[in-house]
Symmetry: C2
Subunit: 495 residues, 2 copies
Amino acid sequence: MTYYQKLEQHTKKLSRIHHLSAICSWDQAAKMPEGGNTARSEAMAELALIHHELSTAAHLAEWFEKAEAESLSAEQKISLKEMKRQWKKDNVLPAELVEQKSLTGSKCEHAWRSQRKENNWHEFSQNLEKVVQLAREEAQIRADATGLSRYNAMLDLYEPGMTCEKIDEIFGQVKTWLPSLIQEVQAQQSHDEVLTPKGPFPAEQQKTLSLDIMSKLGFDFSHGRLDVSTHPFCGGVPTDVRITTRYDEDDFTSALMGVIHETGHARYEQGLPEQWLDFPVGQARSMGIHESQSLFFEMQLSRSKPFIEILAPLAREVFSRNNDKSLSTENMVLFSTRVKPGYIRVDADEVTYPAHIILRYEIERDLIEGKIEVADIPELWDKKMTEYLGLSTKGNFTDGCMQDIHWTDGSFGYFPSYTLGAMYAAQFMAAMRREMNVDNLIRERNLQPIFNWLDRHIWKKASFLSTEDILREATGETLNPDYFKEHLVNRYLES
Amino acid sequence: MTYYQKLEQHTKKLSRIHHLSAICSWDQAAKMPEGGNTARSEAMAELALIHHELSTAAHLAEWFEKAEAESLSAEQKISLKEMKRQWKKDNVLPAELVEQKSLTGSKCEHAWRSQRKENNWHEFSQNLEKVVQLAREEAQIRADATGLSRYNAMLDLYEPGMTCEKIDEIFGQVKTWLPSLIQEVQAQQSHDEVLTPKGPFPAEQQKTLSLDIMSKLGFDFSHGRLDVSTHPFCGGVPTDVRITTRYDEDDFTSALMGVIHETGHARYEQGLPEQWLDFPVGQARSMGIHESQSLFFEMQLSRSKPFIEILAPLAREVFSRNNDKSLSTENMVLFSTRVKPGYIRVDADEVTYPAHIILRYEIERDLIEGKIEVADIPELWDKKMTEYLGLSTKGNFTDGCMQDIHWTDGSFGYFPSYTLGAMYAAQFMAAMRREMNVDNLIRERNLQPIFNWLDRHIWKKASFLSTEDILREATGETLNPDYFKEHLVNRYLES
Ligand SMILES: [Zn+2]
Ligand SMILES: [Zn+2]
């Protein structure tokens, strides 16, 4: 057996352990009764330990060295490179730091649940300082290992190849036009009369609608399921993708748009190249590309007028509301593209969302690089919210810097993926429109050419190409935020 | 750390791996979409391998030896003994034999699916011969390791301490009265006019009824769930018990009685002593005792007249059939206690079921001991079916010796557990009746004292006592099949 083959065997083993861990995590969120949690968490930790021991085995360094000297096909070379990238990521942090991060993050998040309600920044910030301290240690170790700056080393975990220099430039551009665009859109929309659909919308009927839409969007039910959980997610494994939603009987659009979003994630997973699924090279390229697929489905596709022409009648039918004017296509278009600055990121619309991300990016970048401290966050938050969205969060920590919990598990570097994803999605759609009349295809209920394009240019590419090369191959250029601006202007100003 | 503590830590690790395997097995049967199966099976096999490697580690022999010399509490001594029993069971078979068994069994079962339909004994028997050959090898190895006879060594896996000498005596007694009892019951029942409830009984309503009964029977939904699968089972782990059923819209009683049966298994699991759950001593004593709990719930409790007085009105209500005479208490009592010899074991009633088990026991015992060969089975099957139940299976392999698939996975020695369980259940009920008026408690809807008795005498005993000692402690004597006879006579002849 060659060393490359040994590494493949080893990686397959890790992939299988990950499979069981993914299914049990899904179960924990979607099916497990409360009383099962303690034993389950212990069992999951044991499996994580087994995974860790295998993935950090001492002999692997030699295997990689020897495999690199072997004669390999072009695909195998890329696969080996991705296995090695994964191995390095898994091996660079000392075990104590991983444990410290996990404990400190859990403690911070647990306390946050009541501290947020009490608007108690003072106590929360003490925990967050420890989280940031550990995140800086992690960033330093990753920086030393990669030769990148501290924050860039963190970014590289979620969007390999991306740097804060590039993001600064891109987000810097967005900042020049976004605040005024938001104001213009609001001024224009102030003349619209929009009806808010009024519940109750029974969960069972929402589920029927969700399953129908998933199937129209090509979700493969022989390789996946839809279930319910408190926090919607896309989990499982590519051969068995588990997406979840939560039905709000007062507002069916939240579950519906959520399901469409997760279906985008799911189709990417289901579309990955079958023969490489056990290997890093066969997995999703990055968090940004993942989000580009969910946002392509949710924003580019499903909030478009031609698609709402499909959605609205289905909703009227499933809820037996043929004469409900709030469910007319015209009103649903207005309702689905309503723009309104708000404090809470996860409730934000497509136009204001990037403002939330830019704010978080600028703060976390400077936190990790040591240019600011935790104590500086509230003032910065208030200043940026005011500047980007015209909303002050002075003294309001609950709806300000205490609303998100992403940082407590040390995921610094993750936030930009959301807006990078939105930009990739707009750029993909623009390229697709050059090749086919997307709106007509939707009107003809012929979505297959759209999915085929994504499958060919993104899903089947998995991690064989870098993010930049995926963009270049699919759209003819690297990331160009103009497409995103163009999309927003077209959808929100010229309708 | 003492060696006993090391063994506890090791055993906990095995228990946690088992936890994930149990949840993923449940998922595979109850939730997994078809397309997930290949990757899932590979992942499960990987976890089984990890479990096997851990449980057969070379250093364990020394650990056990040293732990046995340590100063231990009485409970720890029993726990150590049970850990060792488990370790020996896991270690005695050579890896190739385990693999051979698995491959040969899968092949035999897979071919059986079509061979059974085609009544093709000739080809099936060739596969079965290989299965029996491997089972004999296994039995010989286990016999050498335990000093028991070959079949007794297999029995010991499912009902530790049980021997074919004891079973021969007990089943021998049953054979003296069962065939004539069956005839008497049939003669007496021939005068009854019984209505068969006619469907459709919608699955949703059956589910509502099932959940209601489970909760009346004390199933703890914070530590378990009810779902649907093709073959009903009780799975999961004691802190999170997953039972399943299958709804037949033509016959609600099959799912209902199935759910009650699995609830009996589940309550045993949920009632095991919390602080010992990770260790063999904290687990169910035996398959026979496990079945005694499911049959206590299903047969002793739920087919009793006072319980049907609860069930029947609930059924009428949930199906909105207040005037359906087939759902009257009187008719439900007759319907639930109908006795009719048939070919198929899994469809058999309480009275004829033991005949099916005795037949299988006598054949598998002689097969394993080498007194008969596979080629002898059809003739023996026909002879015994005719003798015990008055039904000939000559030339009818499909409904004769090809109906069951238990033997293909090498589970020789398992069949007696079913009837031993029925006997234990009857003996437990008789003892309970000496302490409390069970029928009155049921009529008063006060089942708690019944559950408390089972909890105290069986569930909390886990594997701290042998099966014999559980019986002795709970009922004052060892297995006495007279209670089972008495139960059948009381229920089926003197009503
Ligand atoms: Zn997403
Ligand atoms: Zn059972």
